[in-house]
Every structure is written in C-alpha cells, then in structure tokens.
C-alpha cells in the first residue's frame, strides 16, 4: 500500500496516478494490458490496435461490455474503470433475422444453435434485435441473479415507484451492475440497469 510517509526514498513522497488498464474486445487486434495514467485518452493507447473492417463500425466502451459507458474513439477511460472494450456496432438489418438459424448468434437459451457449441467464441455486437416489450417470460431473471431476491417483482415495484414495496423486495441490497446479466438475457429488452438506477435515485431523493 502506498502511503506518502512510508519509506524513505524520494519516490515514496510522490503518488503514482498510473494504473493497469486492459484493452479487450473482439475488435482489438492485440488485447493487452497498459500501464497508463487515470483518465487517459483511448486513442493514445488503442489508436492502431483496432481492427479496421469494411462496413464495420466499432463501439468503444469505457469499462466492460455489460456495465460500461459508451465513449467515442478519442474519448477518455473513466476514473473508476480499469478496462476498455471495443466491439462491433450491430447496425446492419437482417432479413427475417429472428427466424433463420444463424451460427454467429449467441444465446443462453436453447432457441438458437449456440448451445450446441459451447466451445465457440462469438463476436457479439450491439444490435438490440427487438423493441422494448412488457415482461412476458418468467423465471429467467432468477437464474441469473444468485441472490434471494425476486427480480421481476422488484423491477415492477420500481417502475410504479412504490417505495415500501421496493424496500421490502430488497432495493437496498442491489446495485445496477448486479442486474447486468439479467439485462443481457432479457427477451423483452427491458432497460433493467436503468430501472434499478432510477429506483435507487428515487429512494435517495425520498429520504434526502
């Protein structure tokens, strides 16, 4: 642990604002670690490390693909993030893409052939594939949230801003990142992390 008064060398009196950042993602040619200063600009480290492919726009993310913030190519890696991810944007429409079997699609469900090839690596993109729908499939979130919480009931309580119900169902035990996997698997494409964030903000306002 660094402490300004520990040790007797000159270096001990200077704080080192460098940290290790991982550059990850399918669009990175050489995924590797960098020792950089906090708040470094992305193109300073990833400039020529990103795959250039015809027709593929990359998305730059400060943080990981599940919980990170979207940044531009010359954006900055966040203070609290120690990872930068580059993935392809999924902005190409597919003809009847919801029907045709496709080996390049990944799903945790068995409605796509991906469950037959557990060893395969995928190039996941940012295509959302569907507009937002109401909650339909039940029992799915519970599989991806290993806490004694009823996720759908909690989300519904937040959506109607029922403070008592939110407290009873465990809003104090969760943070938006806990629901990142639930948001990933959600077939109704509900913005779960945003809902949790709004719930926490509302509670904070309520008891401010």
């Amino acid at each position: 642990m660094w402490s300004p008064s520990a040790g007797c060398s000159k270096r001990a009196f200077m704080t080192d604002s460098r940290k290790v950042v991982a550059l990850t993602g399918s669009e990175v040619e050489n995924p590797r670690y960098y020792r950089v200063h906090a708040g470094v600009r992305l193109d300073n480290i990833a400039g020529n490390n990103v795959l250039q492919e015809e027709g593929v726009t990359p998305r730059f993310i400060s943080g990981d693909a599940l919980t990170g913030e979207k940044i531009s190519a010359n954006g900055f890696i966040g203070f609290y993030d120690s990872q930068a991810t580059v993935i392809p944007e999924g902005d190409k429409p597919e003809l009847i893409g919801w029907l045709i079997p496709n080996m390049q699609r990944f799903s945790v469900s068995r409605t796509w052939p991906s469950f037959l090839m557990p060893w395969k690596k995928y190039r996941l993109d940012t295509n959302i594939r569907s507009g937002e729908r109401p909650f339909v499939i039940t029992g799915l979130y519970e599989k991806y949230l290993p806490m004694d919480i009823l996720p759908m009931q909690l989300l519904k309580a937040i959506m109607i801003n029922d403070i008592d119900m939110m407290e009873n169902l465990g809003i104090y035990e969760v943070a938006p990142e806990d629901f990142a996997l639930c948001e990933f698997v959600c077939p109704s494409k509900i913005e779960i992390q945003s809902v949790i964030r709004d719930g926490l903000d509302n509670i904070q306002k309520e008891f401010a």
Partner: protein, 384 residues
C-alpha cells in the same frame, strides 16, 4: 436484401412518418417492417451486448411446437368425417379434407385478432406485440371443427379486447386469451359447443349418409352418460383418432410439442409436471374412494382424454397468466390438475374441466404469487 431494405426505408417508410399522409398507420407499417427485418437498432443504455433471443423467436418456437397437433388434427377431422359416412380413404385425402375445414378457422382467428391488435397499437401508440401470434393458432385448435366462422371471429375479438387489451395488452393479462375465447363460445353458444353432434364434420353432400350406429360422442361425453363399455381403447385415445376439438385429441402429437417446448426451454417443465401430478393425485384419490364407475377408471386415462394434455402443455404454461414465481408455479400447476378432475368427475354439468380449471387458477395465480412474495419479504426482514 439491401435493395429491399433500401426500397422500404426510402420509398415506403416516409409515407408513414410524422409528416407523411399515412402517419396514422405508422404502427402497422412498423409491425411489417420488424416482421421482415431485424432492424439495425443498437443498444443505447445499460448492457451493450444482448442475447439473441427475443419475443418473436420465442413465439416462433411455440408455433413449431403446435405443428404436430395441428397436422394430426387436420388429418383427424377428415378421418372422423369419412368414418362417419362409412367411406374408406387414404391418409392424404383425409388430411386434405381437414385442411379445407381447418384453414378457414385459422385465417379468421388471425385476421380478427391481429386487426384488434393493430388497432390498439395505433390507438395507444406502442409497437404491435407478438403475443397474438400464438393465441391465434391456439383458438382454432380448441374448438369443434363445425364452429361457424363468424362465431370464431366474435370470440377472438372478445378475447383480445376483454382478455388482453383492457388490461394493458400483452404481458398484462390475467386470463389466458385463447381459453377466454373458448369460454365465451361455451357460454354464449352452448348448443354449438357441446353435445354429440358438433365434434365431427357431418354436413353431407348428395348421396352420402351416416353409417348405422354412428355416434360423435367424445370419450368424456361417453363417460358422463355412464357407458363405460363404449369408451375407446387407451391406445386410440393416446394416438388421437377419436372425436374432439381439432387439436386436443392426440396425446402423442402434444407430447412431441411438449418435447420441443422443453428442449428449447420456452415452456415451463415445472408447470407441466405439476399439472400432471395434480391430475394423477386426484385420479388416484377417486380410485380409492370410488362410488361410481366414472371414478373407477384408471387415473392415467384422464391424461389422454379430452383437453387435459393440450391444456397442460400449451395453456397452463402461458407465462403471463400463470403464476410468476418459481414456487408459485408448483402450487398453480398442481391445483389445475386437481380442479380439472374435480369438475370432470364430480360436476354433472360440465363433461370437460380443463378450460375452467385453468381460467380459475389464472384468477388465483396473483394470490399465490402474493404469498410467495410475502415469504420472501419475511426472510429479508429476518436478515436485517
């Protein structure tokens, strides 16, 4: 493909946008657009990557699971008809006869239901939901083949409006819409829905006549009148070449559908097994305390007669109207099985109990969930 997409985006879409002439029908256009294409919309908030599964894909797999029951049902309609007039035909002819009788029912059901869905999507300004893709095929499969087309249309409109839209659309309904359509038909037009004449297509052409001793009674109707000896064999009831609603007769075809639903993870195995467990439990209980012949029939007979199998696999597992908590699903399914047998065996007014049992438990599912949630809350308070 690029050409088609460009055509739609540049030439057709502008008419439906804000300042176009047909802007009122934007939601209709959008429904067809999302049917043709998975759009290139990307994530903006939250997780940047998303699972490839979404509602259309899920509904599509339920439709695949319904195909065995549909195909067998079409063949059975033809087979029962030709049996009734004493003519021997091969598989294809019987099947073709069935296609000609069942396809109009399917078309009317989808047309009526989708019209209402599109209308409400336009009025409420949200995307057309995929929920009716499945209900539209379920409704024709649970009615007798002789149902007039206008009745199907009225029942579908009733089910979609009162059963779904009034509560807020797909995902908000308390009752199963397909069963609500069936219940509407049952209570509004009882003469067309029950009795022995409705299950087989017996409108005869020149020169045809019914064979001697023809009876169009379903196995449950036979049991209700107490003639145990004229019950079809267990094998016949399992395979399904007996009178009944179009899709419900063949337990084998329904089992194939159940396999698809469970293999893809779309249908809840928990609910299906609970319903069967409840039915077997009640059946065995009746066997134990048998006071009449109906109670004496083997418990597993109930699984292959009437709408039990169809209701278990396709109706009880509807995620929105079923219990939505894991523990709740066991109670929900078990009680459906129990109540179905109760209505069938003990109640003299209804030969079939599955539809009413499922609708009844649909109403109680929120209560079951309430207690599961309360248990969760109590556990949490203990931890604090």
């Amino acid at each position: 493909m690029k050409a088609l997409h460009n055509l739609i985006e540049k030439k057709v879409k502008p008419h439906f946008e804000q300042d176009g002439r047909l802007s009122k029908f934007y939601r209709t256009f959008e429904a067809f657009e999302t049917f043709l294409f998975v759009k290139g919309d990307v994530t903006t908030r939250g997780s940047h990557i998303r699972d490839a599964m979404e509602m259309k894909r899920t509904m599509f797999h339920v439709l695949i699971a319904l195909i065995p029951a549909l195909l067998f049902g079409m063949w059975n309609v033809g087979y029962q008809h030709y049996q009734a007039i004493g003519v021997d035909v091969d598989v294809l002819e019987a099947f073709w006869f069935g296609v000609l009788r069942v396809l109009p029912l399917i078309i009317v059901s989808y047309a009526a239901g989708l019209a209402i869905e599109f209308l409400f999507a336009t009025i409420r300004d949200h995307e057309v939901n995929e929920g009716f893709l499945v209900s539209g095929l379920l409704i024709p499969l649970i009615i007798p083949v002789t149902t007039p087309l206008w009745m199907v249309a009225v029942a579908t409109v009733f089910a979609v409006i009162i059963g779904k839209e009034v509560f807020g659309g797909t995902g908000m309904n308390i009752l199963n819409p397909a069963l609500l359509a069936r219940a509407f038909l049952f209570f509004a037009y009882p003469a067309h829905m029950s009795g022995d004449e409705v299950w087989i297509y017996t409108t005869l052409q020149e020169g045809q006549q019914l064979v001697d001793g023809f009876s169009g009674a379903t196995p449950l109707a036979v049991l209700a009148t107490g003639e145990i000896q004229s019950l079809p064999s267990a094998l016949e009831m399992f395979l399904g070449n007996i009178p009944g609603s179009i899709g419900e007769t063949s337990t084998l075809a329904i089992l194939l559908g159940a396999f698809v639903l469970i293999a893809t993870g779309v249908g809840s195995l928990r609910i299906m097994l609970s319903v069967v467990a409840g039915g077997m439990f009640m059946g065995l209980l009746f066997n134990l305390f048998a006071v009449n012949e109906f109670m004496e029939i083997p418990a597993y007979y109930h699984l292959i007669m009437g709408g039990f199998a169809f209701g278990t696999v396709y109706m009880a597992t509807d995620p929105v109207s079923a219990s939505q908590t894991g523990t709740g699903k066991y109670v929900y399914g078990f009680l459906i099985g129990v109540i179905t047998l109760l209505i069938r065996v003990v109640n003299p007014a209804f030969p079939e109990g599955m539809m009413l049992a499922i609708l009844f438990m649909n109403v109680f599912a929120p209560l079951i969930d309430h207690y599961v949630v309360r248990a969760n809350v109590k556990r949490r308070l203990k931890r604090v």
